[in-house]
Structures are given as structure tokens and as C-alpha cells.
């Protein structure tokens, strides 16, 4: 602490340069935090996907329906503990601009679905209320907050693909439950009763979108998948079964390798940042050659001089990086910036820790060359030049 006035005077020596360097560090770390959350959003599901869950879809495409009768056959496959299903709905709330179509909406078997996905947290009374009400809907807290829905609200949804038997496109649901979940869990889903949906829809009765099964041994997932698919070979609706993780990854890969792209963007940002900060510190040391020589004259050792410059660089990195990470975390904490397209949007703790590591790394790497230069300064030469 006793060196603080000395460090502070060095940092404020060229205020504009220090402020601009500081701001560039802040911006870089805000970007780091934000892009970290974007990367998570695009790989959502991959990390939290259950290793013991298999997804069976139509072999041609996930949008092709499968017969509801497959459920019992899949359930009999050795290694399968339980099986349930879901279907795509894709309705509109109020108008298309509300972005409700981006929310995962699906008719499901309520009890089975909640058993298969224990990561969904829902109070018991709400769970019972949802199961008991055929027109009930279970909504994730993100979606409930977004549309300001509360328990008991009646929510009208405009069907875009499915009409009712009376030719109406209006589907009405009662909000009976609002579920939450840990980090990485999609808390935006809109889940309602398959029975109500199947009875009311104009066509497609007796079909489902896809099946989800829990197996007893994740190590045997390949064999179990093959066993399921072999049941329906040469049928009009052949299947393709994969693990939940693979399915999530294949969705992420359809958009592109976002993770790699983000890593390259961040690498470019940090490389530039390193040059900017390193140059600012080096320039500052060059301008203070005489002052550093005076410090060494009055007894500052080589190690102390090295430490002073490194601390100066570290302080700049710590202040800028710390603020950047804090602002970035706050921005990420404000939630999905796309209004529903990225339902899982958060900065993982490991990325935050990595960010703190980068802050220290920046401080050391940007400061090390100027610090060594200051350490090696020959007093007599420096005073003569000064």
C-alpha cells in the first residue's frame, strides 16, 4: 500500500492514454462475458442433456410424425425404463411480433414428461393442478415473466399449423404451473396435455412428434438405439434414435460451430488488447526513463522496479477487466437479448473464472517486457539521457 501514491501517479501521468487503455480492456471483457453466454446459448442442451435419455424421431425428419402406437413397442425394448412423447405445436400469442413461436410449445403426457425431466422444478400443488386440468399448461418462468402470465390466467394461442375440429385456430389454455430450473435448463417451455390436443385437432390423430426414452445403462445407448430402430425397419415410419446429447449437438451444429467462431473472435480481441495495453505500458515506461533512474538511484532495487511496472500493468488490467466482467455479467443477467430465441442464456462460472485468469494474464503479459526494460535500466545512462 505504501507504493500506491507512486503507482497512482504513474497511471494518471497521461490520463487520456490510461482512460482509453482502461476502456478498451473494459469493452474486451464485456465482450468476453457476453459472447461466453451466446456460446452457451447455442450449445444449450448439449451440456445439460441427460446421458440416459434417447430421442427417437422419424428417420427422414423430426417434423414427420410417428404413430402413437410405437410407444408400447419402444417401452418393451430391453434397457428402456420408461418412454414418453412430445410434438411440435408452433402457435402465436397475440401477434407474431411477440416472438412466441420461438418458445418450445409441445403437447405432452404431463406425468411422464415430468418424470423423464426431473430437472424441471415445480411446486407439488401446481404439478397436481396441471395434471388435473386437461386445458392446463405448464410454463417456464422465463416465458411467464416475458408475457406477464400468472397462475390462473387463461392464455389464447393461435394455432398456425393445427386447427381444431370446429375449424377454429384458437387454442385456449389455463396457466396451472410455472416451473424453474438450474443453470442450463431451458425454462421457457410451454407444455400442455397431449390428450386435449389430440382430441381437439382436426387431423393427425394418433400420431406424435417424437419419443423420448430413459435407459438403464448409458453405456449401452448405441445398442439400445439400434434395437429401437430395428423395430420399425421397413415400416412406413422408420425411426432414428440418438442420445439427447447428440441430438442437441446436431441442432447446434446446424447453425455452425458457434463455439469455435466465438473463440476466434475472442482470440483476435485479446491479441489486439494485448498489443494496445502492452504498448501503453511500454510508452509509459519510456517516458519515465529518468524517473525510474531516480528511483533506482535512491535505492529501488531491480526487483522492486520490475514489480512496480508489473503492478501498474496488473492494476490497469484488474480494474478494466474486473469492471468489464462485472458489466458483462450484469448484461448477461438481464437475460436473453433476442426475446426468446436464446432461452438458455447465462455466463457459466468456469467462463467467469477463465475471465479472471485472462485478466491476470493480460496484466503480466502486457507488463513483462516494459518491466524487464525498466529493471535493466542503467542509472548513469538513463540520467544522462533524461
Amino acid at each position: 500500500m505504501k507504493f500506491w501514491p507512486l503507482l497512482w501517479s504513474s497511471l494518471k501521468r497521461r490520463k487520456a492514454r490510461t482512460i482509453f487503455t482502461f476502456l478498451s480492456i473494459v469493452v474486451a471483457f464485456v465482450l468476453f462475458a457476453y459472447l461466453g453466454a451466446v456460446r452457451v446459448a447455442f450449445s444449450a442442451g448439449v451440456d445439460v442433456a441427460g446421458a440416459d435419455r434417447l430421442w427417437t424421431t422419424h428417420k427422414t425428419s423430426i417434423i414427420q410424425p410417428l404413430p402413437a402406437a410405437y410407444q408400447d413397442q419402444i417401452a418393451r425394448v430391453p434397457g428402456v425404463i420408461m418412454v414418453t412423447h412430445a410434438s411440435w405445436f408452433g402457435g402465436i400469442y397475440q401477434d407474431a411480433k411477440q416472438g412466441f413461436q420461438q418458445v418450445f410449445q409441445a403437447p405432452v403426457d404431463p406425468e411422464a414428461y415430468l418424470t423423464l425431466f426431473p430437472e424441471f422444478r415445480i411446486p407439488d400443488d401446481q404439478k397436481r393442478a396441471w395434471i388435473a386440468d386437461r386445458e392446463g399448461v405448464l410454463v417456464g418462468e422465463v416465458t411467464a415473466k416475458r408475457y406477464n402470465w400468472k397462475i390462473g390466467d387463461r392464455v389464447p394461442i393461435q394455432g398456425t399449423f393445427y386447427r381444431k375440429k370446429d375449424n377454429s385456430t384458437l387454442w385456449e389454455f389455463n396457466v396451472r404451473g410455472i416451473y424453474t430450473g438450474g443453470k442450463g435448463v431451458d425454462t421457457s417451455q410451454f407444455l400442455f396435455h397431449y390428450e386435449y390436443f389430440d382430441e381437439a385437432r382436426q387431423y393427425g390423430q394418433g400420431t406424435v412428434g417424437w419419443y423420448m426414452a430413459r435407459i438403464d445403462d448409458p453405456k449401452k445407448s448405441t445398442e439400445t438405439s439400434k434395437a429401437i430402430d430395428s423395430l420399425f425397419e421397413n415400416s412406413p415410419a422408420e425411426t432414428k434414435t440418438v442420445t439427447e446429447k447428440m441430438l442437441a449437438k446436431s441442432f447446434a451444429d446446424q447453425i455452425g460451430d458457434i463455439g469455435t467462431i466465438i473463440q476466434w473472435v475472442l482470440a483476435a480481441v485479446f491479441f489486439t488488447l494485448l498489443l494496445v495495453t502492452g504498448n501503453a505500458i511500454a510508452q509509459s515506461v519510456r517516458e519515465r526513463t529518468n524517473e525510474l533512474a531516480v528511483l533506482k538511484t535512491v535505492g529501488f532495487s531491480d526487483a522492486t522496479t520490475l514489480g512496480l511496472v508489473l503492478t501498474e500493468s496488473g492494476l490497469l488490467a484488474l480494474a478494466g477487466g474486473g469492471l468489464g466482467l462485472a458489466l458483462g455479467s450484469m448484461a448477461v443477467g438481464a437475460g436473453d437479448p433476442t426475446g426468446g430465441f436464446l432461452p438458455v442464456f447465462y455466463l457459466p462460472t468456469k467462463d467467469l473464472v477463465r475471465g479472471v485468469f485472462f485478466v491476470f494474464l493480460l496484466g503480466v503479459v502486457a507488463g513483462i517486457l516494459p518491466a524487464v526494460q525498466a529493471m535493466r535500466l542503467r542509472i548513469v545512462d538513463a540520467l544522462r539521457r533524461g
Partner: protein, 228 residues
Amino acid sequence: MAETLVKVRDVRKTFFRGGERIEVLQGLDVDVRQGEFLALMGPSGSGKSTLLNLIGGLDKPTGGSVSVGGVEVSGLPDGKLTAWRARHVGFVFQMYNLLPGLTAERNVELPLLLTSLSRARRKQQVATALSLVGLTDRARHYPRQLSGGQEQRVGIARAIVTDPTLLLCDEPTGDLDRKAGDEVLELLQALHSAQGKTIIMVTHDPHAAERADRIVNLDKGVLVGAVA
């Protein structure tokens, strides 16, 4: 007769500039007694500042030896030399060399930062040094808010704040007008007579040198005469 504090024996210093060998000091012998005020005079390039740097441990001789208070400075390794310098030598520069971002008291405090003194004790020593140079009321001023004479007095306060054995002054009045220069010389004289400080002062100015107990003249790296 006071004992000898500084012993310079057969000191040589050679520089190489652009492939050319320059012998700045050529086998010099000088003694400085404890409590003496010595003026080193000579034309530019005569080697007086080089000699001062060797005595202060800022540089090492090519040959010969320099000892201060019984310690052979020229033989000390770099790390020990830095510590020795911090404890035993105070430097006063021609251009004051104050850190512009620090107040007068923070500038004076610099050598004390390397000691284990408490903050209160450091503050006390800084106050004493500033009062000795008559700048107590300028303690919170930055160098840009001080006159040249005042800046040099802060420089002197910084040099004496650790109560060093030896005060080395390189043209301390070289950048000052006559009045401010006289004030600085009076201050050095007072430190010498009242505090018993041993002072070696490099100067071009015969008027400044008159304040010393003894004048040593250098020319082309050799002693050319001494005035008692």
C-alpha cells in the same frame, strides 16, 4: 584530524563510444574526510560527474577502488550496492529530478518507502527534512507549483531524509539563478556545518565552489591541483 570517509585509489574509467576508447578517469587518487565539504571542479568532460557516480555506487570503475566508510563500494555486487546506496548516500541532481506526479512530501518520502519504518515515522522524518530545507508550507505542492530553487530544496530534502553518510551533489545550482543558487548553497553549507554532513559537490561555478572546505580540480581525467 577527522578520519577519511571516502578513499579513491588509482581509479580508472574507460568508455567506448563508436569504437573509440575514451579514458575519462586515468588513475585518480582522492580522499574525503568525514564531515568535509569538497568541491569538484573542472571543464565539461573532465570526469567530475563520472567520479561522483563512482563514489555514489551508480557506476563501477574500470580499474582501481572506491571505498566509503570502510566499505569497498566498487567491489559490491549490484544487489548489495543498491541497498548500500539507499542507506548511505543522498543524491542531489542539477535538474532536481522530482517525480512530477507526486507532491513535495511524497517525493521526499520515496527513499523511506524501502525501509521498514511505519507510516507515522516516515511522515515524521519527511516533515523534519522539509523543515530543514524551509519548505514545511509547501509539503502538499506538486513540483510544477514550486520555483526552481524550491524544487532543488525538495531534492535536497529527499537526499537527506534517510540521514545518509554522504551527500553527493551534481551541479546543484546549475539550473538556478544567482539568488536561488545562493539559497541552495547556504542550505548545503548549513547541513555541513550544523549537521556535520560530508558533501561532495560537482560544480562549474567558482562562486559555488568557494563555499566548500576544499576544491579539487580535474582536467581530462586527472587531478590538476587542489585548493585548501
